[in-house]
């Protein structure tokens, strides 16, 4: 499916820069990325948190609703036009959660959220999708543009939710043009607090690699991603955007920078090994993840940079090393 080509307003044109909405609802706010985003924004706009998890160490001035986004009670939060924008971060990626539960939470949750947005006059929706929706296919060009079909689930079923949510939000763009909708597809997010698959992989002392394969990888720092979401929340930005970090680097160079001792496994046996380890709960990586350390899934982030002036603040080395300072 082609991404809608909606010209973004020229942000540089207005002297003060385009403004943030008066209030932003953040789903998944209790997660590490959600907290970072709330911290970044709460001085500038009113933040409303929605998460079924409790928000530990919540700032006093911050409004939090401990709710499952599929529940009808969420509508209370939206009544009387209290929510001007939504940052939808609350997707579940953990492969160890039962598949049907994660699927319902992600897909039904997104559908309910967009329905509320349309009915309650929300002006802006930002979805934090992922560059993984394109999938690491051997024949991939080196830099995938936003128009690339989302084939990530072809070889790795756990990405299916993400692909479905991304597509659902794309169709919402057309159905509800009055809501400014942005889909961000960042590359692998790493950082001191994130606990996603790529960060955890890079924290392994002796990670598995595929013998003879060394794909170029793209990483982006968690704080840079939060800044990208903040930019996307500004009024005037809309469309589908890849979000890239400070550059491309071979996986081997990342592991060398972190002082890791990789264990190379021949590609003919690595998937069987990964499956055994996953089934025995010795590793958190389903065998489908192997594609990401074997083949290329790098994206072209120039559109977001051109339309919004986006640049990451963390250098390549700082971004790689950020997984070390785990807090």
């Amino acid at each position: 499916m082609a991404s809608p080509e909606i010209p973004a307003t020229d942000l540089a044109a207005s002297p003060d820069g385009p403004s943030l909405p008066q209030s932003v609802a953040i789903t998944g706010i209790a997660g590490n990325l959600g907290r970072k985003l709330a911290k970044l924004l709460h001085m500038e706009t009113r933040i409303i948190g929605i998460d079924r998890r409790p928000f530990r160490e919540k700032p006093k001035d911050l409004e939090h609703h401990q709710l499952d986004i599929r529940k009808n009670r969420v509508e209370e939060v939206f009544r009387h036009g209290r929510v001007e924008a939504i940052a939808h971060l609350g997707l579940m990626h953990d492969p160890r959660v039962r598949f049907s539960e994660a699927h319902s939470f992600n897909v039904v949750g997104t559908q309910k959220l967009l329905d509320l947005a349309a009915r309650h006059g929300v002006r802006k929706v930002v979805l934090l999708s992922s560059a993984n929706v394109y999938g690491p296919l051997p024949g991939n060009p080196n830099f995938l543009p936003e128009e690339t079909p989302l084939l990530g689930a072809a070889r790795f079923p756990n990405v299916r939710d993400l692909v479905e949510v991304d597509m659902y939000v794309q169709s919402f763009m057309w159905k509800c043009p009055q809501v400014e909708t942005v889909i961000l597809r960042p590359v692998n997010i790493v950082g001191p607090t994130v606990k996603n698959a790529p960060s955890n992989y890079l924290r392994l002392k002796r990670p598995l690699t595929v013998l003879g394969f060394d794909p170029m990888v793209q990483l982006v720092h968690e704080e840079d991603v939060c800044r990208a979401v903040a930019i996307a929340l500004r009024l005037g930005v809309r469309g589908v955007y890849n979000v890239t970090g400070p550059g491309e680097v071979p996986l081997s160079a990342v592991l060398a920078e972190l002082g890791r001792e990789p264990i190379p496994v021949p590609h003919l046996v690595v998937r069987a090994l990964a499956r055994r380890l996953f089934e025995a709960r010795l590793s958190a990586y389903p065998p489908g993840e192997i594609d990401y350390i074997q083949y290329l899934c790098a994206v072209d982030g120039s559109r977001f940079a051109r339309d919004t002036g986006w640049t990451p603040r963390y250098s390549l080395r700082e971004t790689i090393r950020s997984v070390l300072s785990s807090s």
């Binding site: 051997p138 024949g139 080196n142 003879g212 060394d214 170029m216 491309e248 680097v249 290329l296 390549l316």
Partner: protein, 284 residues
Amino acid sequence: MAGVGDEIKQRLQRWTLELGGPGMRERLEKLTPPRNEYGVDPYGFDVDFLQAATAPLLWLYRKYFRVEPHGLERVPNEGRVLLVANHSGQLPFDAAMVEVACLADKDPPRAVRALVDRWVPTLPFVSTFFARCGQVVGTPENCRRLLAADEALLVFPEGTRGLNKPFAERYQLKEFGQGFMRLALESEAPIVPVAVVGAEEQAPAFLDLQPLARLFAFPHFPITPTGLPLPLPVRYRIWFGEPMRFTGSPDDEDPVLESKVARVRAAVASLLARGLEERRHLFW
């Protein structure tokens, strides 16, 4: 492990400089592709690696195939360009030799990027080796992007049809694909026709065993007297033609494009004819 790897790399680099002869180091220093703090460009091209990896290929170039390049000055020193060559010899040594010619015998040298098949990224070691040497998967997106960045691309419009043709059909150009012409028109890149003489005889194929090819998912399975990986020590001659410029729309009808493609094919054919005429002997 890293220590051993570095040692080998340095030795290979020294070998490259030795084989390259006087001035090789200075020439190679003129190669300055963009690179980040980890020594690679966004495609994974690593000049240091290339210098090391070139050594065995340069040995083939100087000592084994004893390549004679003609008209290297016709390859522009800078700016986007498509080198369009005939393809032959069962294994793509012709691509390597064209690239080495542009590195070792051209001043200033040019890092030419060849386009590899879509199944190459599934091969261990080979995929990494090619990427570090600056080769990319030949998707139209990659080609557009590289030409827009003013790079030199090497294309074989015959594809494996040319590479794996039987010995009886040597030096008969197969049909050219049209993709390269669309790219040239779109990016307004000049085309340098290239003829490789000699590679046809390096591994004469008497048979193409299609059933085995299907079994291994290879495009072809040729049977040669030496066995595949060992080419005969034929002498290569590489002829570079005058750059050709084309204008028009890349979206023109096929017949319009075909006539332009035919002109490039004719240019390669006439270079081949000249090369064959001037060749005194197959092996020296």
